[in-house]
């Protein structure tokens, strides 16, 4: 009846498995897919990300040079990051922090004159 005894006694006497989050934060692994960020400097508002996002949470308006994202709809898949031709998108190694309010991200860039050889989606 007491087959479990050695295991739990061992647990009792050895170090605990618990990671003392939030007092002790483990170094995140490399390339963890966390919070999505767009660099407004490099983004050319091509809209590829918006087209590829499986969750359809990105909206890009080329004319007004806005890049909008619903972070609460993002599923952290990283498809957009892979697809971005400008490598403007990246993911932090940590998740977006919980919040008490709804969030909406808008990035406004400068409206650049369209280059003739710009790739077309």
């Amino acid at each position: 009846m007491f087959k479990m005894t050695p295991t739990i006694l061992k647990n009792f006497l050895t170090e605990k498995a618990t990671r003392l989050y939030p007092f002790e934060i483990r170094e995140p692994y490399a390339h963890v897919r966390g919070e999505l960020v767009n660099n407004s400097e490099t983004c050319n508002f091509c809209g590829i990300c918006a087209a590829k996002c499986p969750s359809q949470c990105i909206k890009v308006d080329k004319k007004s040079a806005t890049w909008e994202c619903e972070p609460f709809e993002c599923v952290y898949c990283g498809i957009c990051v892979d697809a971005c031709p400008q490598e403007s998108l990246s993911q932090k190694e940590l998740y977006r922090k919980p919040s008490a309010e709804r969030q909406h991200i808008i990035i406004k860039g400068e409206i650049r004159p369209e280059k003739p050889d710009a790739p077309v989606a």
């Binding site: 009846m1 479990m4 005894t5 739990i8 647990n11 009792f12 605990k16 618990t18 003392l20």
Partner: protein
């Protein structure tokens, strides 16, 4: 007279504090056995104070009555214990609390409460005769039901009544709602009955029941202490060992069914009691 008053104060006020502390320690040790850190020692008190401050919400006003009755009965039983009164009487008063717990659960129409209440009754059915027999054994050995006389007995009862102590251990496991007997309600809610008898209690009333449980813990440990009444060190060691054994058993067994419980506890318990009683009667 002043002794009486001190005993009453200890019974009413100190006992629940001790009970709560034991619950807290219990949770820490359980956590450590599972490789976790566990809550602070005072967690049980935090819980109860928080519950007290919550919205008062009932399914049926009778629940309130039953919760009060349960905690009062448990408290009176403990006070009588500290007054060194009659063991059998204390058991009966403690049973009042148990019955009111059942009645309170039955007063809700939720099948979880109802089934929990019936399982609680079956648990009473399993442990009560054992405790009565343990008390009878103590009486046969010491010639008295009075705790004052038992504490004055000249040698630890455990030497004469070892099997009865084991039988008391069964009762203790059931009463403390430890696996494998946490049938009617369990400390962690992962059970087919949700919280069983406690399902429909909430807020302050749940807090009362929790306090009642602390009294019960103290009372049961009091029963165990009778088995080593000749010295404080021995008594404390016995209690600590017993309680640790309970936690260990909780963590190395699966929850069983009431059919098994009735069969097993009666078969084992009555055999142990009978052997010990015959030994005492013949010896």
């Amino acid at each position: 007279m002043s002794n009486t008053i001190i005993a009453i104060i200890i019974g009413f006020l100190v006992a629940p504090l001790v009970g709560g502390l034991i619950s807290g320690l219990d949770r820490i040790i359980t956590a450590r056995l599972q490789g976790r850190i566990g809550p602070p020692v005072w967690q049980a008190f935090y819980d109860v104070i928080k519950l007290m401050s919550k919205e008062s919400m009932v399914v049926n006003v009778w629940q309130a009555f039953c919760a009060y009755a349960y905690v009062s009965a448990a408290a009176i039983a403990v006070v009588l214990f500290f007054l060194k009164s009659d063991l059998l009487l204390i058991l009966f008063i403690q049973a009042v609390g148990a019955v009111f717990l059942v009645v309170g659960a039955l007063s809700s129409t939720s099948p979880y409460s109802q089934v929990g209440a019936h399982r609680e009754l079956l648990q009473i059915l399993a442990y009560e005769p054992l405790i009565i027999l343990v008390i009878a054994g103590i009486y046969l050995e010491t010639g008295s039901f009075k705790i004052s006389a038992i504490y004055d007995w000249n040698q630890p009862l455990i030497f004469k009544l070892p099997f009865l102590f084991v039988a008391l251990g069964y009762a203790l496991t059931i009463k403390l709602r430890k696996s494998p007997f946490d049938l009617s309600t369990s400390h962690h809610g992962h059970q087919e009955l949700v919280k069983g008898v406690l399902t429909d209690y909430s807020g302050p009333y749940l807090a009362l029941i929790e306090i009642g449980h602390w009294y019960d813990v103290v009372l049961l440990l009091g029963f165990c202490s009778l088995f080593w009444a000749t010295g404080a060190v021995g008594m404390l060691a016995l209690l600590a060992l017993t309680y640790f054994a309970e936690i260990l058993i909780d963590n190395v067994t699966a929850r069983m069914t009431w059919r098994w419980m009735l069969g097993y506890v009666w078969a084992m318990g009555f055999t142990l009691c009978s052997v010990n009683l015959i030994w005492v009667i013949l010896g």
